[in-house]
């Protein structure tokens, strides 16, 4: 396996029947997707492994649907998002929500005047995220925790980029107002 193959080239190889390409894709995306699932789906924490297995199985079965005009990362995040959404719908009935682990929140993107330890800050952010509406938390996680750009978020969520921009603006406002309500003055770089 060529180490410097791009994601798109790996997808092409997998589509041509080279199973080794799947190993490389899993190697590259297992950790980012694991973190994404844990950040995004509070009620899926105990099923992350199952979700990832479903994701890569779907990558395997749908690889010939992948369109080279799209970034591979957007495509695989879209698959993950869709699988998560179906899990969330199931969990909304069962309702076994777990809080987000503070380690999954990068502290460098948030600034605060309050004298808080990094761990306390991340715990506070985790609480705020837990209070955000689902749709806004969705774009908030992709933009601020995953660091995706607007166009890629649009491709992941299958939404127009202007709609994404609106949701991000609302998500940011919702996050900051929730922080204010908790007496925490946060600054968030966009």
């Amino acid at each position: 396996m060529d180490k410097i193959s791009s994601d798109e080239e790996l997808a092409q190889q997998l589509a041509n029947g080279r199973e080794m390409a799947l190993r490389e894709i899993v190697h590259r995306y297992e950790m980012p997707l694991r973190n994404y699932v844990r950040r995004r789906c509070f009620s899926c924490q105990s099923e992350v492994d199952d979700i990832l297995q479903d994701v890569f199985l779907r990558v395997f079965t749908h690889i010939r649907e992948f369109d080279a005009g799209l970034k591979f990362s957007a495509w695989i995040y879209r698959i993950t998002h869709n699988i998560m959404i179906s899990r969330i719908r199931r969990h909304s009935v069962r309702g076994n929500t777990l809080p987000l682990e503070p380690e999954l929140i990068p502290s460098d993107i948030f600034r605060t005047d309050a004298p808080l330890e990094s761990r306390e800050l991340r715990q506070a952010i985790s609480d705020i995220l837990g209070h955000m509406p689902d749709k806004l938390r969705n774009v908030f996680v992709l933009r601020f925790l995953e660091g995706k750009d607007y166009a890629e978020i649009g491709d992941i969520l299958r939404e127009n980029v202007n709609t994404v921009a609106t949701w991000i603006r609302r998500g940011r406002a919702s996050f900051l107002s929730e922080a204010n309500a908790m007496g925490l003055r946060l600054y968030l770089e966009d």
Binding site: L22, V26, F56, R158
Partner: protein, 235 residues
């Protein structure tokens, strides 16, 4: 066992293979067809609203007291419903545009286009094609089919159509043939008046007809006689 190994093992154990490219092409083709279908419904909706507004290419007469449904006295209800019908088709058209957008989003990059652009595009295409269909009498066929297969639709338009064909001053007459002879026949119009019609073509007795012609002496001279239930529209 690592995740990649587990995925491949599961795929092998359950005989899961990558889907063929043709499957995805077919899926996209299905959505394209569905989109064309919604567009066609939009075109029909606008064309039918024009048919309701301009029956037989003629502006709907203003509310007149004698515009009654055959055998019924509820003409006010009829007029109100007829007045609303074009708008109902237009509401239907708006609904169809929303549906069209839902389908359009399933195109490869359909979601990247703004909803307002897609919906206005569908509306514009429906208006232009609907006008073309109306002018080329294609929506008239749909209107006719509805009239003869959907009884509430028939009830709405039959009275209006009879009214339209009872205008002797404009050279239109319609009714049921009573008796025929060599070059003329007797008929009862939809208001019950008896007419003698001179015509080179004589219809069969008991047939319902509509006639283009002109009043002559004490009779009506026909230029053209057509069956009442024929889909050919006015001249």
């Amino acid at each position: 066992m690592d995740l990649a190994e587990r995925v491949l093992q599961k795929a092998k154990a359950e005989h899961i293979h990558p889907h063929a490219r043709a499957w995805f092409v077919l899926e996209r083709l299905g959505f394209a067809l569905l989109f064309v279908l919604t567009l066609l419904l939009g075109v029909l909706a606008f064309g039918l609203s024009l048919e309701a507004l301009f029956p037989d290419h003629m502006v709907t007469p203003p509310m007149r007291g004698h515009m009654r449904m055959p055998g019924r006295g509820g003409f006010v209800f009829l007029q109100m419903t007829l007045g609303w019908l074009p708008f109902l088709w237009l509401f239907f058209l708006v609904g169809i545009s929303g549906l069209g957008y839902g389908v359009f989003r399933h195109f490869r990059y359909g979601y990247r286009v703004r909803a307002s652009h897609v919906v206005s595009g569908i509306l514009f295409a429906s208006l232009v094609l609907g006008l073309v269909f109306f002018q080329t009498h294609l929506t008239w066929r749909a209107h006719w089919t509805l009239m003869h297969n959907v009884s509430p639709y028939h009830a709405l338009f039959e009275g209006q159509r009879r009214h339209h064909w009872m205008d002797v001053g404009q050279g239109r007459l319609a009714g049921q043939v009573l008796r025929v002879s060599d070059s003329c026949f007797q008929m009862r119009d939809w208001r019950g008046r008896i007419w003698t019609v001179r015509s080179p073509n004589v219809p069969a007795p008991a047939e319902s007809v509509r006639i283009w012609g002109f009043p002559c002496d004490s009779a009506f001279c026909a230029e053209r006689v057509l069956p009442w239930n024929s889909p050919r529209r006015g001249r």
